[in-house]
């Protein structure tokens, strides 16, 4: 009796599912996130090219005949109380805000991920120390910790970035530790261990990739928050100082002239809002595509 074996068609190119293709398949269905992602890319491009594309010098061009004038063909976003072109200042400010948001979160993510990886893998006293430090940092509400750090180090954007980075470390440490704790008892880790892989190899080659998805999602969502925190500190006068065209600092300067020139405050507000919104929407989309289990807030 020779019944022909059922023929399975040879897998075609699209049937092969790599993590990357799987991610793209899910991500491209999220139109809003896709648009947000394109917007973020454009923003990065604009920020990188800002010094060459601004119509006027953001700090040293003063149009004394147009103080506080609303938007016009010459000055797209109007002019501030010192006669500076707001559009040029917003473009230059994008460099500062994006750099502050990205550098601080990336630094926090790298340090937090390493600490969390070690804490989750070795547990014991090291875990207790790291988690206790995280608890202590979490005991300072909101931007209070950042204000405290800036109070010690002095005002300025570099110190603000450092403060926001410190403030991001515990969140990443907790996230990664949690992931590692649930991953390390999986069979594949046991298998790697049984063929004699060292702890370093297990952590970096086998546990780390398992947590990358949630770290990337959280990082994206966190950039928005960090841009707001950095802008808040500049708004309070603790970060970038005038005449630097940082968005928060611009808003602080605009407060004095709110009555006769509200547009001076409007554009920096919108710039922060649109940028942070784009990062948040992108983060939501990445989360749905990469890590649906991550909390939705």
């Amino acid at each position: 009796m020779n019944t022909p074996a059922p023929v399975t068609p040879a897998p075609t190119a699209d049937a092969v599912r790599t993590p990357a293709s799987e991610f793209w398949r899910k991500f491209k269905r999220q139109k809003v996130a896709l648009v947000a992602g394109v917007f973020v890319l454009l923003l990065v491009l604009v920020a990188a090219l800002a010094p060459w594309i601004v119509p006027f010098d953001a700090e040293n061009f003063f149009d004394y005949d147009a103080l506080n004038t609303p938007p016009s063909a010459k000055h797209w976003f109007g002019v501030d109380s010192l006669g500076r072109d707001i559009f040029s200042r917003i473009l230059m400010g994008a460099r500062i805000s994006l750099a502050a948001g990205f550098i601080s979160v990336a630094a926090g993510a790298v340090i937090g991920t390493l600490l969390g990886l070690l804490a989750g893998y070795y547990q014991g006293w090291w875990d207790r120390i790291v988690m206790r430090m995280a608890d202590v940092l979490f005991a300072f509400p909101g931007i209070l910790l950042a204000i405290g750090i800036v109070a010690i180090l002095g005002n300025g954007m570099v110190n603000v970035i450092l403060a926001v980075a410190v403030f991001s470390v515990p969140a990443f440490a907790r996230l990664v530790r949690g992931n590692v704790l649930s991953l390390k008892h999986q069979t594949y880790i046991e298998a790697v261990r049984s063929i004699g892989a060292s702890d370093t190899v297990i952590m970096l080659r086998h546990l780390l990739p398992g947590t990358v998805a949630s770290v990337v999602v959280y990082l994206t969502m966190r950039i928005g928050t960090s841009i707001i925190t950095a802008a808040s500190l500049s708004f309070l006068g603790l970060g970038a100082q005038p005449p630097t065209p940082e968005w928060g600092a611009m808003l602080n300067e605009a407060r004095a002239d709110m009555l006769n020139a509200p547009h001076v405050a409007l554009f920096p507000s919108l710039a922060i809002f649109v940028t942070v919104l784009a990062f948040n929407l992108l983060g939501d989309g990445l989360r749905d595509a990469l890590d649906p289990k991550l909390d939705k807030f």
Binding site: P141, G142, I143, V150, I152, F235, N280
Partner: protein, 306 residues
């Protein structure tokens, strides 16, 4: 319950101790000589020495810490460098406005957040959900200081309905509490929505529906109660956000609270005041989280017996 409470309180002690050490160390991390800072710019070397001895800054560090800690326990944080008045008096005047502002913001934002979250979950992917979530994502993306300035421009300057600055009447509370609570309402809405969606998929909800219960009792009696557990935890975390956020909002509205006091203190390098405020802010946050944990244990008895 008492055992649980005691265990939680004891568990807080190490965190509190480390926070106290950090706040104490703060003065020694500042650039420059704290005695010189306290004595003022035009003080001679003798005065600086006198101030140093007076503040106990000549003692060995561990002794200084014990001194700081025992004074702090009695509510004595020394004199403010700027006003020369006791730090405790300065803070006492400012505590009320911040406290009530935070409560007002928390109240409306949690309520609105719950309503939006539940509505979005029940009418998932329909217009109430889209509207609610558009509001929510905007709420977490709009910086509070910008929102405060927009609201003030619109309602106080253009329309003249509400006062701009100060904290005298209930009308003064409307704009600052709206500004402060917007972010929290947004986070609560998103969080409630996602936990409610999970709840609506549970077996007991299906059972409730299967036995012919109407949609209202299913949502409120079976759904909401269970969804509240994670939401309460979230509330605790959001309180920290509010305490931090009040710092910024108070500056926008020139609010006579602890947040503005802190910003002024940082500007003037008034370190005794900074120390006391940072300690107080984090103490408040830790206590609120404790309260939330206890509340959590009341709602969910399985926590107590672990």
């Amino acid at each position: 319950m008492a055992v649980y409470l005691l265990k939680r309180l004891l568990g807080l002690l190490p965190t509190l101790l480390i926070v106290a050490v950090l706040v104490f160390a703060f003065v020694h991390l500042l650039p420059g000589d704290p005695a010189r800072l306290a004595a003022g710019v035009d003080a001679g070397p003798e005065t600086v020495e006198l101030v140093r001895r007076d503040l106990g800054l000549d003692l060995p560090l561990p002794q200084q810490f014990v001194r700081f800690f025992s004074h702090a326990l009695q509510g004595d944080f020394g004199l403010s460098i700027r006003s020369k008045r006791p730090v405790s008096t300065e803070i006492a005047e400012r505590f009320g406005p911040t406290f009530f502002l935070t409560i007002a913001a928390m109240g409306w934002s949690v309520l609105l957040g719950l309503v939006l979250g539940v509505a979005s979950a029940v009418w998932r992917n329909r217009w109430p959900d889209r509207l609610g979530m558009t509001f929510a994502i905007s709420g977490i993306s709009f910086p509070s200081f910008a929102l405060g300035m927009v609201l003030m421009q619109l309602f106080s300057v253009q329309l003249g309905w509400l006062p701009t600055v100060g904290a005298d009447t209930w009308k003064h509370y409307i704009l600052p509490s709206l500004t402060l609570g917007a972010g929290v309402a947004a986070v609560m809405a998103r969080f409630t929505r996602s936990s409610f969606i999970d709840i609506l998929k549970e077996d007991y909800v299906r059972t409730a529906r299967a036995k012919g219960l109407g949609e209202l009792p299913v949502v409120f009696k079976h759904g909401l109660r269970n969804a509240l557990i994670p939401v309460v935890t979230m509330m605790g975390l959001q309180f920290g956000f509010l305490l931090g956020g009040s710092i910024v909002v108070e500056v926008v509205f020139n609010w006579p609270g602890m947040g503005r006091l802190l910003v002024d203190a940082v500007e003037m390098r008034d370190y005794p005041l900074i120390q006391a405020l940072v300690l107080l802010f984090s103490l408040e946050f830790i206590l609120i989280n404790l309260l939330v944990d206890v509340l959590y244990a009341v709602i969910n008895p399985t926590i107590r017996f672990q």
